[in-house]
Protein backbone atom coordinates (compact mmCIF):
# COMPACT_ATOMS: atom_id res chain seq x y z
CA UNK A 1 0.00 0.00 0.00
CA UNK A 2 1.69 3.12 -1.13
CA UNK A 3 1.55 6.21 1.08
CA UNK A 4 -0.30 8.09 -1.61
CA UNK A 5 -2.98 5.46 -1.80
CA UNK A 6 -3.21 5.41 1.96
CA UNK A 7 -3.51 9.19 2.08
CA UNK A 8 -6.47 9.27 -0.28
CA UNK A 9 -8.04 6.23 1.25
CA UNK A 10 -7.84 7.96 4.62
CA UNK A 11 -9.62 11.00 3.32
CA UNK A 12 -12.30 8.95 1.64
CA UNK A 13 -12.79 6.85 4.74
CA UNK A 14 -12.93 9.98 6.86
CA UNK A 15 -15.72 11.45 4.80
CA UNK A 16 -17.58 8.20 4.56
CA UNK A 17 -17.49 7.49 8.29
CA UNK A 18 -18.58 11.04 9.08
CA UNK A 19 -21.57 10.55 6.79
CA UNK A 20 -22.39 7.28 8.50
CA UNK A 21 -22.13 8.98 11.87
CA UNK A 22 -24.35 11.81 10.74
CA UNK A 23 -26.91 9.35 9.48
CA UNK A 24 -26.96 7.64 12.85
CA UNK A 25 -27.38 10.86 14.82
CA UNK A 26 -30.07 12.01 12.42
CA UNK A 27 -31.88 8.76 12.93
CA UNK A 28 -31.71 9.20 16.68
CA UNK A 29 -32.97 12.76 16.40
CA UNK A 30 -36.31 11.26 15.43
CA UNK A 31 -36.20 8.28 17.73
CA UNK A 32 -38.59 8.72 20.64
CA UNK A 33 -36.67 9.64 23.75
CA UNK A 34 -36.27 7.09 26.49
CA UNK A 35 -36.72 9.73 29.16
CA UNK A 36 -39.67 9.36 31.45
CA UNK A 37 -41.02 12.72 32.58
CA UNK A 38 -40.84 11.66 36.15
CA UNK A 39 -43.32 13.55 38.25
CA UNK A 40 -45.83 13.50 35.41
CA UNK A 41 -45.20 9.94 34.32
CA UNK A 42 -43.81 7.13 36.38
CA UNK A 43 -42.25 3.81 35.71
CA UNK A 44 -44.28 0.94 37.01
CA UNK A 45 -42.79 -0.59 40.12
CA UNK A 46 -41.79 -4.23 39.74
CA UNK A 47 -44.14 -6.61 41.47
CA UNK A 48 -41.58 -7.49 44.10
CA UNK A 49 -40.03 -4.07 44.35
CA UNK A 50 -38.85 -3.10 47.80
CA UNK A 51 -39.82 0.38 48.79
CA UNK A 52 -41.45 1.66 51.94
CA UNK A 53 -42.73 -0.85 54.47
CA UNK A 54 -46.20 -0.82 55.81
CA UNK A 55 -47.49 -2.59 58.90
CA UNK A 56 -51.10 -3.50 59.12
CA UNK A 57 -51.58 -3.11 62.84
CA UNK A 58 -54.92 -4.88 62.77
CA UNK A 59 -53.05 -8.09 62.14
CA UNK A 60 -49.89 -7.51 64.13
CA UNK A 61 -49.63 -9.77 67.14
CA UNK A 62 -46.56 -7.96 68.43
CA UNK A 63 -44.35 -10.99 68.25
CA UNK A 64 -41.25 -8.95 67.29
CA UNK A 65 -40.21 -11.49 64.68
CA UNK A 66 -39.68 -8.71 62.19
CA UNK A 67 -37.57 -6.73 64.63
CA UNK A 68 -35.38 -9.73 65.28
CA UNK A 69 -34.86 -10.31 61.58
CA UNK A 70 -33.90 -6.74 60.78
CA UNK A 71 -30.15 -6.51 60.19
CA UNK A 72 -29.96 -2.82 61.06
CA UNK A 73 -32.31 -2.87 64.04
CA UNK A 74 -34.54 -0.18 62.71
CA UNK A 75 -37.76 -1.74 63.93
CA UNK A 76 -38.52 -1.11 67.57
CA UNK A 77 -41.50 -2.81 69.13
CA UNK A 78 -42.85 -2.64 72.64
CA UNK A 79 -45.82 -4.59 73.88
CA UNK A 80 -48.00 -4.81 76.92
CA UNK A 81 -49.92 -7.87 77.92
CA UNK A 82 -53.63 -7.58 77.68
CA UNK A 83 -55.97 -8.63 80.40
CA UNK A 84 -57.97 -11.82 79.93
CA UNK A 85 -61.10 -9.76 79.99
CA UNK A 86 -59.97 -7.73 76.99
CA UNK A 87 -60.72 -9.14 73.62
CA UNK A 88 -58.17 -7.89 71.09
CA UNK A 89 -59.75 -9.79 68.27
CA UNK A 90 -58.37 -12.24 65.83
CA UNK A 91 -55.95 -11.57 62.96
CA UNK A 92 -57.00 -12.23 59.42
CA UNK A 93 -54.93 -15.39 59.55
CA UNK A 94 -56.96 -16.60 62.51
CA UNK A 95 -54.53 -15.95 65.31
CA UNK A 96 -55.74 -14.54 68.55
CA UNK A 97 -54.11 -11.26 69.53
CA UNK A 98 -52.93 -11.18 73.10
CA UNK A 99 -50.62 -8.21 73.28
CA UNK A 100 -51.20 -4.54 73.05
CA UNK A 101 -48.57 -3.16 70.73
CA UNK A 102 -47.60 0.05 72.47
CA UNK A 103 -44.78 0.97 70.15
CA UNK A 104 -44.08 0.00 66.59
CA UNK A 105 -41.54 2.32 64.98
CA UNK A 106 -39.67 1.75 61.77
CA UNK A 107 -36.87 4.20 61.15
CA UNK A 108 -36.68 4.50 57.38
CA UNK A 109 -33.55 6.54 57.66
CA UNK A 110 -31.82 3.37 58.79
CA UNK A 111 -33.82 0.86 56.82
CA UNK A 112 -31.85 -0.65 53.97
CA UNK A 113 -34.94 -2.02 52.25
CA UNK A 114 -33.57 -5.52 52.36
CA UNK A 115 -37.00 -6.96 52.99
CA UNK A 116 -35.73 -9.46 55.55
CA UNK A 117 -38.42 -8.43 57.99
CA UNK A 118 -41.21 -9.48 55.66
CA UNK A 119 -41.03 -13.29 55.50
CA UNK A 120 -40.81 -14.04 59.25
CA UNK A 121 -44.06 -12.31 60.09
CA UNK A 122 -46.53 -15.02 61.15
CA UNK A 123 -49.53 -12.98 60.12
CA UNK A 124 -48.06 -11.40 56.99
CA UNK A 125 -48.91 -7.95 58.19
CA UNK A 126 -45.60 -6.24 57.47
CA UNK A 127 -45.02 -5.82 53.77
CA UNK A 128 -43.55 -3.58 51.10
CA UNK A 129 -45.72 -0.97 49.45
CA UNK A 130 -44.94 0.80 46.21
CA UNK A 131 -44.40 4.17 47.86
CA UNK A 132 -40.93 5.44 47.18
CA UNK A 133 -41.31 9.19 47.45
CA UNK A 134 -41.05 10.00 51.11
CA UNK A 135 -37.99 12.19 51.41
CA UNK A 136 -37.94 14.59 54.32
CA UNK A 137 -35.97 17.64 55.31
CA UNK A 138 -35.53 16.34 58.82
CA UNK A 139 -34.21 12.87 59.31
CA UNK A 140 -36.31 12.32 62.42
CA UNK A 141 -39.42 12.57 60.27
CA UNK A 142 -38.40 9.30 58.68
CA UNK A 143 -39.14 7.47 61.87
CA UNK A 144 -42.60 6.15 61.20
CA UNK A 145 -44.87 5.03 63.97
CA UNK A 146 -47.47 2.47 63.06
CA UNK A 147 -49.31 1.97 66.33
CA UNK A 148 -53.01 2.58 66.36
CA UNK A 149 -53.26 3.34 70.07
CA UNK A 150 -53.35 6.91 71.26
CA UNK A 151 -50.62 8.02 73.70
CA UNK A 152 -53.09 7.92 76.62
CA UNK A 153 -54.13 4.42 75.69
CA UNK A 154 -50.52 3.40 75.52
CA UNK A 155 -49.84 4.69 79.04
CA UNK A 156 -52.94 3.07 80.44
CA UNK A 157 -52.22 -0.25 78.77
CA UNK A 158 -48.68 -0.24 80.06
CA UNK A 159 -49.83 0.67 83.57
CA UNK A 160 -52.49 -1.97 83.52
CA UNK A 161 -50.06 -4.61 82.36
CA UNK A 162 -47.62 -3.63 85.07
CA UNK A 163 -50.29 -3.79 87.72
CA UNK A 164 -51.38 -7.17 86.48
CA UNK A 165 -47.85 -8.36 86.59
CA UNK A 166 -47.34 -7.14 90.12
CA UNK A 167 -50.50 -8.87 91.17
CA UNK A 168 -49.45 -12.05 89.42
CA UNK A 169 -46.14 -11.95 91.21
CA UNK A 170 -47.91 -11.56 94.51
CA UNK A 171 -50.28 -14.38 93.68
CA UNK A 172 -47.43 -16.56 92.65
CA UNK A 173 -45.54 -15.86 95.81
CA UNK A 174 -48.66 -16.77 97.76
CA UNK A 175 -49.15 -19.87 95.70
CA UNK A 176 -45.51 -20.81 96.12
CA UNK A 177 -45.82 -20.32 99.84
CA UNK A 178 -48.95 -22.43 99.87
CA UNK A 179 -47.26 -25.06 97.77
CA UNK A 180 -44.23 -25.01 100.01
CA UNK A 181 -46.47 -25.47 103.01
CA UNK A 182 -48.24 -28.30 101.25
CA UNK A 183 -44.98 -29.89 100.29
CA UNK A 184 -43.74 -29.58 103.80
CA UNK A 185 -46.89 -31.36 104.86
CA UNK A 186 -46.43 -33.99 102.20
CA UNK A 187 -42.77 -34.43 103.04
CA UNK A 188 -43.78 -36.92 105.55
CA UNK A 189 -45.96 -38.75 103.07
CA UNK A 190 -44.45 -41.41 100.73
CA UNK A 191 -45.49 -39.49 97.57
CA UNK A 192 -42.57 -37.13 97.96
CA UNK A 193 -40.25 -38.29 95.05
CA UNK A 194 -42.77 -37.57 92.32
CA UNK A 195 -43.50 -34.14 93.72
CA UNK A 196 -39.85 -33.18 93.88
CA UNK A 197 -39.22 -34.11 90.26
CA UNK A 198 -41.68 -31.59 88.97
CA UNK A 199 -41.14 -29.09 91.67
CA UNK A 200 -42.16 -25.94 89.81
CA UNK A 201 -45.09 -27.29 87.90
CA UNK A 202 -46.88 -30.01 89.69
CA UNK A 203 -47.89 -28.12 92.78
CA UNK A 204 -49.19 -25.24 90.84
CA UNK A 205 -51.01 -27.49 88.48
CA UNK A 206 -53.10 -28.51 91.29
CA UNK A 207 -53.62 -25.00 92.35
CA UNK A 208 -56.89 -24.32 90.52
CA UNK A 209 -58.39 -27.27 92.23
CA UNK A 210 -57.31 -26.37 95.70
CA UNK A 211 -57.66 -22.65 96.36
CA UNK A 212 -60.82 -21.01 95.16
CA UNK A 213 -60.11 -18.99 92.05
CA UNK A 214 -60.18 -15.24 92.43
CA UNK A 215 -61.52 -14.84 88.90
CA UNK A 216 -64.74 -13.04 89.86
CA UNK A 217 -62.75 -10.10 91.22
CA UNK A 218 -61.77 -9.26 87.69
CA UNK A 219 -58.00 -9.18 88.22
CA UNK A 220 -56.71 -12.64 87.69
CA UNK A 221 -53.00 -12.95 87.20
CA UNK A 222 -53.43 -15.58 84.55
CA UNK A 223 -52.55 -14.39 81.11
CA UNK A 224 -54.23 -15.80 78.08
CA UNK A 225 -51.21 -17.16 76.32
CA UNK A 226 -50.97 -18.48 72.84
CA UNK A 227 -51.34 -22.19 72.49
CA UNK A 228 -48.09 -21.99 70.53
CA UNK A 229 -49.39 -22.16 67.01
CA UNK A 230 -46.22 -20.34 66.04
CA UNK A 231 -43.34 -22.45 67.12
CA UNK A 232 -40.68 -19.76 66.84
CA UNK A 233 -41.77 -17.08 69.31
CA UNK A 234 -41.36 -19.27 72.30
CA UNK A 235 -37.61 -18.88 72.80
CA UNK A 236 -37.49 -15.22 71.85
CA UNK A 237 -40.74 -13.94 73.13
CA UNK A 238 -40.05 -11.11 75.52
CA UNK A 239 -43.24 -11.79 77.41
CA UNK A 240 -43.30 -15.54 77.76
CA UNK A 241 -45.79 -17.00 80.05
CA UNK A 242 -44.70 -19.29 82.76
CA UNK A 243 -45.41 -22.89 81.99
CA UNK A 244 -47.53 -23.05 85.13
CA UNK A 245 -50.01 -20.45 84.04
CA UNK A 246 -50.09 -21.94 80.61
CA UNK A 247 -51.09 -25.30 81.83
CA UNK A 248 -53.57 -23.73 84.06
CA UNK A 249 -55.34 -21.71 81.44
CA UNK A 250 -55.20 -24.03 78.50
CA UNK A 251 -58.20 -26.06 79.49
CA UNK A 252 -60.17 -22.93 79.95
CA UNK A 253 -59.28 -21.53 76.51
CA UNK A 254 -60.02 -24.71 74.70
CA UNK A 255 -63.30 -25.03 76.47
CA UNK A 256 -64.21 -21.63 75.01
Amino acid sequence: MSPVYRYFRNIGKGFWTILIGMRITMKHLFTPAVTIQYPDARMSIPERGRNRLYVNMDDCIGCNQCGMACPVDCISIETAKSLPTEDLGVTSTGQKKRLWVTKFDIDFAKCCYCGLCVPPCPTECIYMTDVYEFSEYDRSNLNYSFITLSPEEVTSKVEQAKAAEREAAAKKAAAAAAAAAQRAAQAQAPAAPAGQDQAPTSPVQQKPAEPPRPAPTGTPETKPSAPQTTPAPAPENPTPDKPDTQDKTNPKDSSD
Binding site: I18, M22, T25, L29, A33, V34, T35, Q37
Partner: protein, 341 residues
Protein backbone atom coordinates in the same frame (compact mmCIF):
# COMPACT_ATOMS: atom_id res chain seq x y z
CA UNK B 1 -29.85 51.13 -2.09
CA UNK B 2 -27.83 48.71 -0.09
CA UNK B 3 -28.64 49.95 3.39
CA UNK B 4 -32.17 51.18 3.84
CA UNK B 5 -31.31 52.83 7.14
CA UNK B 6 -28.57 55.09 5.86
CA UNK B 7 -30.72 55.60 2.76
CA UNK B 8 -33.56 57.06 4.82
CA UNK B 9 -31.77 58.54 7.83
CA UNK B 10 -28.54 59.45 6.12
CA UNK B 11 -25.00 58.45 6.88
CA UNK B 12 -24.74 60.78 9.85
CA UNK B 13 -24.39 59.76 13.46
CA UNK B 14 -27.92 58.38 13.92
CA UNK B 15 -27.96 56.48 10.67
CA UNK B 16 -24.66 54.83 11.50
CA UNK B 17 -25.74 54.09 15.05
CA UNK B 18 -29.02 52.45 14.09
CA UNK B 19 -27.48 50.55 11.25
CA UNK B 20 -24.70 49.24 13.46
CA UNK B 21 -27.04 48.22 16.26
CA UNK B 22 -29.44 46.40 13.97
CA UNK B 23 -27.38 43.16 13.84
CA UNK B 24 -27.40 43.11 17.64
CA UNK B 25 -31.18 43.11 17.54
CA UNK B 26 -30.85 40.01 15.44
CA UNK B 27 -28.03 38.31 17.39
CA UNK B 28 -29.78 38.33 20.76
CA UNK B 29 -32.90 36.38 19.78
CA UNK B 30 -30.85 34.28 17.39
CA UNK B 31 -28.44 33.28 20.18
CA UNK B 32 -31.30 32.40 22.53
CA UNK B 33 -33.06 30.34 19.88
CA UNK B 34 -29.86 28.57 18.88
CA UNK B 35 -28.97 27.84 22.48
CA UNK B 36 -32.35 26.26 22.93
CA UNK B 37 -32.06 24.39 19.63
CA UNK B 38 -28.67 23.09 20.61
CA UNK B 39 -30.00 21.85 23.94
CA UNK B 40 -32.93 20.13 22.31
CA UNK B 41 -31.09 18.74 19.29
CA UNK B 42 -28.25 17.38 21.37
CA UNK B 43 -30.75 15.83 23.75
CA UNK B 44 -32.82 14.19 21.04
CA UNK B 45 -29.76 12.92 19.23
CA UNK B 46 -28.96 11.10 22.46
CA UNK B 47 -32.54 9.89 22.85
CA UNK B 48 -33.13 12.28 25.71
CA UNK B 49 -35.65 15.07 25.96
CA UNK B 50 -33.50 17.97 27.14
CA UNK B 51 -35.08 20.81 29.07
CA UNK B 52 -38.81 20.24 29.32
CA UNK B 53 -40.02 22.36 32.22
CA UNK B 54 -38.72 25.91 31.94
CA UNK B 55 -41.49 27.87 30.29
CA UNK B 56 -43.68 24.78 30.14
CA UNK B 57 -43.57 24.13 26.40
CA UNK B 58 -40.48 21.98 25.77
CA UNK B 59 -38.37 24.19 27.99
CA UNK B 60 -38.42 27.09 25.54
CA UNK B 61 -37.42 29.54 28.29
CA UNK B 62 -34.30 27.63 29.31
CA UNK B 63 -31.87 30.01 27.54
CA UNK B 64 -33.62 32.97 29.14
CA UNK B 65 -33.23 31.35 32.52
CA UNK B 66 -29.57 30.61 31.80
CA UNK B 67 -28.87 34.18 30.77
CA UNK B 68 -30.71 35.56 33.80
CA UNK B 69 -28.67 33.30 35.99
CA UNK B 70 -25.43 34.44 34.37
CA UNK B 71 -26.44 38.08 34.87
CA UNK B 72 -26.88 37.51 38.58
CA UNK B 73 -23.59 35.72 39.05
CA UNK B 74 -20.70 37.32 40.80
CA UNK B 75 -18.04 38.65 38.49
CA UNK B 76 -14.93 37.00 39.82
CA UNK B 77 -11.50 38.31 38.91
CA UNK B 78 -8.64 36.06 40.03
CA UNK B 79 -6.26 37.83 42.38
CA UNK B 80 -3.24 37.00 40.29
CA UNK B 81 -4.87 37.87 36.98
CA UNK B 82 -3.66 40.62 34.72
CA UNK B 83 -6.70 42.80 35.36
CA UNK B 84 -6.68 45.04 32.31
CA UNK B 85 -6.29 42.23 29.81
CA UNK B 86 -8.62 40.02 31.79
CA UNK B 87 -11.43 42.55 31.68
CA UNK B 88 -10.81 43.50 28.08
CA UNK B 89 -10.66 39.99 26.62
CA UNK B 90 -14.38 39.08 26.56
CA UNK B 91 -15.26 42.40 24.98
CA UNK B 92 -12.59 41.92 22.35
CA UNK B 93 -13.80 38.43 21.53
CA UNK B 94 -17.33 39.66 21.13
CA UNK B 95 -16.23 42.68 19.10
CA UNK B 96 -14.38 40.36 16.75
CA UNK B 97 -17.49 38.32 16.16
CA UNK B 98 -19.82 41.26 16.02
CA UNK B 99 -17.74 43.39 13.70
CA UNK B 100 -18.07 40.70 11.05
CA UNK B 101 -21.81 41.33 10.89
CA UNK B 102 -21.11 44.72 9.36
CA UNK B 103 -20.26 43.21 6.00
CA UNK B 104 -22.87 40.46 5.85
CA UNK B 105 -25.56 41.26 3.34
CA UNK B 106 -28.71 40.36 5.24
CA UNK B 107 -30.93 41.41 2.40
CA UNK B 108 -30.60 43.30 -0.86
CA UNK B 109 -31.65 46.34 1.17
CA UNK B 110 -29.52 45.88 4.23
CA UNK B 111 -25.81 45.47 4.56
CA UNK B 112 -24.22 47.26 7.47
CA UNK B 113 -21.27 48.50 5.49
CA UNK B 114 -21.35 48.02 1.76
CA UNK B 115 -17.59 47.98 1.37
CA UNK B 116 -15.74 46.66 -1.63
CA UNK B 117 -13.52 44.44 0.45
CA UNK B 118 -16.40 42.91 2.39
CA UNK B 119 -15.24 39.32 2.63
CA UNK B 120 -11.67 40.39 3.19
CA UNK B 121 -12.86 42.60 6.02
CA UNK B 122 -14.71 39.66 7.62
CA UNK B 123 -11.63 37.47 7.48
CA UNK B 124 -9.59 40.28 8.98
CA UNK B 125 -11.83 41.18 11.89
CA UNK B 126 -12.44 37.55 12.73
CA UNK B 127 -8.76 37.42 13.59
CA UNK B 128 -9.42 39.80 16.49
CA UNK B 129 -11.18 36.88 18.15
CA UNK B 130 -7.84 35.05 18.36
CA UNK B 131 -6.34 38.06 20.05
CA UNK B 132 -9.13 38.19 22.59
CA UNK B 133 -8.84 34.49 23.33
CA UNK B 134 -5.09 34.72 23.75
CA UNK B 135 -5.55 37.65 26.10
CA UNK B 136 -8.13 35.76 28.11
CA UNK B 137 -5.92 32.72 28.40
CA UNK B 138 -2.79 34.66 29.28
CA UNK B 139 -4.34 37.08 31.74
CA UNK B 140 -6.25 34.43 33.69
CA UNK B 141 -2.98 33.15 35.11
CA UNK B 142 -4.28 29.62 34.96
CA UNK B 143 -2.60 26.71 33.25
CA UNK B 144 -5.80 25.43 31.69
CA UNK B 145 -6.60 28.84 30.32
CA UNK B 146 -3.13 29.27 28.91
CA UNK B 147 -3.10 25.83 27.31
CA UNK B 148 -6.52 26.48 25.83
CA UNK B 149 -5.44 29.84 24.49
CA UNK B 150 -2.31 28.39 22.93
CA UNK B 151 -4.31 25.67 21.28
CA UNK B 152 -6.79 28.22 20.01
CA UNK B 153 -4.08 30.34 18.52
CA UNK B 154 -2.51 27.34 16.82
CA UNK B 155 -5.84 26.13 15.57
CA UNK B 156 -7.21 29.40 14.30
CA UNK B 157 -4.00 30.38 12.55
CA UNK B 158 -3.84 26.96 10.88
CA UNK B 159 -7.40 26.94 9.72
CA UNK B 160 -7.47 30.50 8.53
CA UNK B 161 -5.30 29.44 5.61
CA UNK B 162 -7.60 26.85 4.00
CA UNK B 163 -10.61 28.97 4.80
CA UNK B 164 -9.11 32.05 3.17
CA UNK B 165 -8.00 30.03 0.17
CA UNK B 166 -11.52 28.67 -0.20
CA UNK B 167 -12.96 32.16 -0.04
CA UNK B 168 -10.44 33.28 -2.60
CA UNK B 169 -11.68 30.68 -5.06
CA UNK B 170 -15.16 32.18 -4.93
CA UNK B 171 -13.78 35.68 -5.22
CA UNK B 172 -11.95 34.59 -8.38
CA UNK B 173 -15.16 33.32 -9.92
CA UNK B 174 -17.13 36.45 -9.04
CA UNK B 175 -14.34 38.90 -9.53
CA UNK B 176 -15.31 40.94 -6.47
CA UNK B 177 -14.75 40.98 -2.74
CA UNK B 178 -18.11 42.62 -2.18
CA UNK B 179 -20.56 40.15 -0.71
CA UNK B 180 -23.51 41.87 -2.36
CA UNK B 181 -21.88 41.26 -5.72
CA UNK B 182 -21.30 37.64 -4.75
CA UNK B 183 -25.01 37.31 -4.04
CA UNK B 184 -26.00 39.03 -7.24
CA UNK B 185 -23.76 36.69 -9.22
CA UNK B 186 -25.88 33.74 -8.01
CA UNK B 187 -29.30 35.15 -8.79
CA UNK B 188 -31.91 33.01 -10.44
CA UNK B 189 -32.93 29.52 -9.47
CA UNK B 190 -31.06 27.52 -6.91
CA UNK B 191 -29.02 25.65 -9.50
CA UNK B 192 -27.27 28.95 -10.07
CA UNK B 193 -25.89 28.85 -6.56
CA UNK B 194 -22.17 28.32 -6.63
CA UNK B 195 -22.30 25.13 -4.64
CA UNK B 196 -24.40 23.50 -7.39
CA UNK B 197 -23.78 25.75 -10.38
CA UNK B 198 -20.02 25.49 -10.52
CA UNK B 199 -19.80 21.81 -9.73
CA UNK B 200 -17.45 20.30 -8.70
CA UNK B 201 -14.96 23.10 -8.06
CA UNK B 202 -16.98 25.23 -5.76
CA UNK B 203 -18.55 22.23 -4.09
CA UNK B 204 -15.11 21.11 -2.98
CA UNK B 205 -14.40 24.69 -2.00
CA UNK B 206 -17.53 24.69 0.10
CA UNK B 207 -16.50 21.52 1.90
CA UNK B 208 -13.08 22.97 2.62
CA UNK B 209 -14.56 26.24 3.80
CA UNK B 210 -17.12 24.54 5.97
CA UNK B 211 -14.59 22.32 7.73
CA UNK B 212 -12.23 25.23 8.26
CA UNK B 213 -15.03 27.43 9.52
CA UNK B 214 -16.04 24.78 12.04
CA UNK B 215 -12.52 24.99 13.39
CA UNK B 216 -12.77 28.76 13.55
CA UNK B 217 -15.82 28.61 15.76
CA UNK B 218 -14.01 26.37 18.24
CA UNK B 219 -16.77 23.84 18.23
CA UNK B 220 -16.65 20.08 18.23
CA UNK B 221 -15.00 18.24 16.62
CA UNK B 222 -12.56 21.15 16.76
CA UNK B 223 -13.19 22.13 20.36
CA UNK B 224 -9.76 21.34 21.71
CA UNK B 225 -9.35 24.95 22.91
CA UNK B 226 -12.21 24.37 25.33
CA UNK B 227 -11.95 20.60 25.69
CA UNK B 228 -13.96 20.22 28.88
CA UNK B 229 -12.54 16.81 29.66
CA UNK B 230 -8.90 17.90 29.56
CA UNK B 231 -8.81 21.67 30.04
CA UNK B 232 -11.80 22.32 32.30
CA UNK B 233 -13.08 25.03 29.97
CA UNK B 234 -9.96 26.22 28.20
CA UNK B 235 -9.43 29.93 27.88
CA UNK B 236 -12.58 30.93 29.75
CA UNK B 237 -12.01 28.69 32.77
CA UNK B 238 -11.66 31.63 35.12
CA UNK B 239 -14.52 33.69 33.78
CA UNK B 240 -17.87 33.90 35.46
CA UNK B 241 -21.10 35.79 35.20
CA UNK B 242 -21.51 38.33 32.46
CA UNK B 243 -18.01 38.01 31.13
CA UNK B 244 -18.51 34.31 30.61
CA UNK B 245 -21.81 35.11 28.92
CA UNK B 246 -19.89 37.29 26.49
CA UNK B 247 -17.73 34.37 25.42
CA UNK B 248 -20.83 32.30 25.06
CA UNK B 249 -22.60 34.91 23.01
CA UNK B 250 -19.50 35.42 20.88
CA UNK B 251 -19.38 31.71 20.13
CA UNK B 252 -22.96 31.69 18.91
CA UNK B 253 -22.50 34.95 17.03
CA UNK B 254 -19.45 33.47 15.39
CA UNK B 255 -21.34 30.35 14.40
CA UNK B 256 -23.77 32.47 12.47
CA UNK B 257 -21.04 34.58 10.89
CA UNK B 258 -19.36 31.56 9.34
CA UNK B 259 -22.72 30.09 8.39
CA UNK B 260 -23.84 33.34 6.80
CA UNK B 261 -20.58 33.71 4.92
CA UNK B 262 -20.95 30.15 3.65
CA UNK B 263 -24.55 30.91 2.70
CA UNK B 264 -23.52 34.03 0.82
CA UNK B 265 -20.52 32.49 -0.90
CA UNK B 266 -22.06 29.16 -1.88
CA UNK B 267 -25.82 29.22 -1.38
CA UNK B 268 -26.83 32.42 -3.04
CA UNK B 269 -27.07 34.61 0.06
CA UNK B 270 -30.31 36.56 0.01
CA UNK B 271 -31.40 35.05 -3.31
CA UNK B 272 -34.60 33.09 -3.28
CA UNK B 273 -34.14 29.48 -4.41
CA UNK B 274 -37.01 29.97 -6.85
CA UNK B 275 -35.75 32.78 -9.04
CA UNK B 276 -37.77 35.95 -8.80
CA UNK B 277 -40.48 34.16 -6.85
CA UNK B 278 -40.51 35.06 -3.12
CA UNK B 279 -37.68 37.52 -3.52
CA UNK B 280 -37.39 41.06 -2.29
CA UNK B 281 -35.80 42.90 0.61
CA UNK B 282 -37.76 41.14 3.37
CA UNK B 283 -37.70 37.75 1.70
CA UNK B 284 -33.99 38.31 1.19
CA UNK B 285 -33.44 38.58 4.92
CA UNK B 286 -35.61 35.53 5.42
CA UNK B 287 -33.64 33.46 2.92
CA UNK B 288 -30.25 34.47 4.22
CA UNK B 289 -31.23 33.74 7.80
CA UNK B 290 -32.83 30.43 6.86
CA UNK B 291 -29.80 29.34 4.92
CA UNK B 292 -27.58 30.43 7.77
CA UNK B 293 -29.71 28.52 10.25
CA UNK B 294 -29.58 25.36 8.17
CA UNK B 295 -25.80 25.58 8.21
CA UNK B 296 -25.86 26.31 11.95
CA UNK B 297 -27.98 23.21 12.33
CA UNK B 298 -25.37 21.21 10.45
CA UNK B 299 -22.73 22.59 12.79
CA UNK B 300 -24.77 21.44 15.77
CA UNK B 301 -25.44 18.12 14.09
CA UNK B 302 -21.73 17.56 13.52
CA UNK B 303 -20.91 18.59 17.05
CA UNK B 304 -23.11 15.89 18.48
CA UNK B 305 -21.90 13.32 16.00
CA UNK B 306 -18.14 13.53 16.10
CA UNK B 307 -15.67 13.12 18.93
CA UNK B 308 -12.95 15.69 19.52
CA UNK B 309 -9.79 15.70 17.44
CA UNK B 310 -6.42 15.15 18.99
CA UNK B 311 -4.05 18.10 18.57
CA UNK B 312 -1.86 16.30 16.06
CA UNK B 313 -4.87 15.11 14.09
CA UNK B 314 -6.12 18.65 14.03
CA UNK B 315 -2.87 19.90 12.57
CA UNK B 316 -2.72 16.97 10.17
CA UNK B 317 -6.15 17.79 8.85
CA UNK B 318 -5.34 21.43 8.37
CA UNK B 319 -1.84 21.30 6.95
CA UNK B 320 -1.77 17.99 5.14
CA UNK B 321 -5.28 17.73 3.80
CA UNK B 322 -7.22 20.98 3.72
CA UNK B 323 -4.40 23.31 2.73
CA UNK B 324 -3.08 21.20 -0.19
CA UNK B 325 -6.58 20.58 -1.43
CA UNK B 326 -7.44 24.25 -1.12
CA UNK B 327 -4.31 25.17 -3.06
CA UNK B 328 -5.03 22.63 -5.79
CA UNK B 329 -8.61 23.77 -5.87
CA UNK B 330 -7.72 27.41 -6.26
CA UNK B 331 -5.41 26.45 -9.11
CA UNK B 332 -8.15 24.41 -10.78
CA UNK B 333 -10.74 27.14 -10.30
CA UNK B 334 -8.33 29.72 -11.67
CA UNK B 335 -7.63 27.56 -14.70
CA UNK B 336 -11.33 27.00 -15.22
CA UNK B 337 -12.13 30.71 -14.94
CA UNK B 338 -9.39 31.56 -17.42
CA UNK B 339 -10.40 28.85 -19.91
CA UNK B 340 -14.05 29.82 -19.73
CA UNK B 341 -12.94 33.29 -20.59
Amino acid sequence: MHNFITYYIGTGFWGSLVSSILPLVYIMPYALVTMWLELKISAHMQDRLGPMRTGRWHGWAQPLADVTKLLQKEDIIPAAADKVLYLLAPALVFIGSYAAYAAIPFSPAYIGADINLGIFYIVAVSAIVVLGILMAGWSSNNKWSLLGAMRTAAQLVSYEIPSSLAILAVVMVVGSFNLNDVCSAQSGWFWNWFVFGKFPFLFITFIIYFIASLAETNRAPFDIPEAESELVAGYHTEYSGMRFAFFYLAEYANMFVVAAVAAVLFFGGWNSPFGAYLSGPVWGAFWLISKGMVLVFIQIWLRWTLPRFRVDQLMYLSWKILTPFALLNIFAVGLWVVLRG
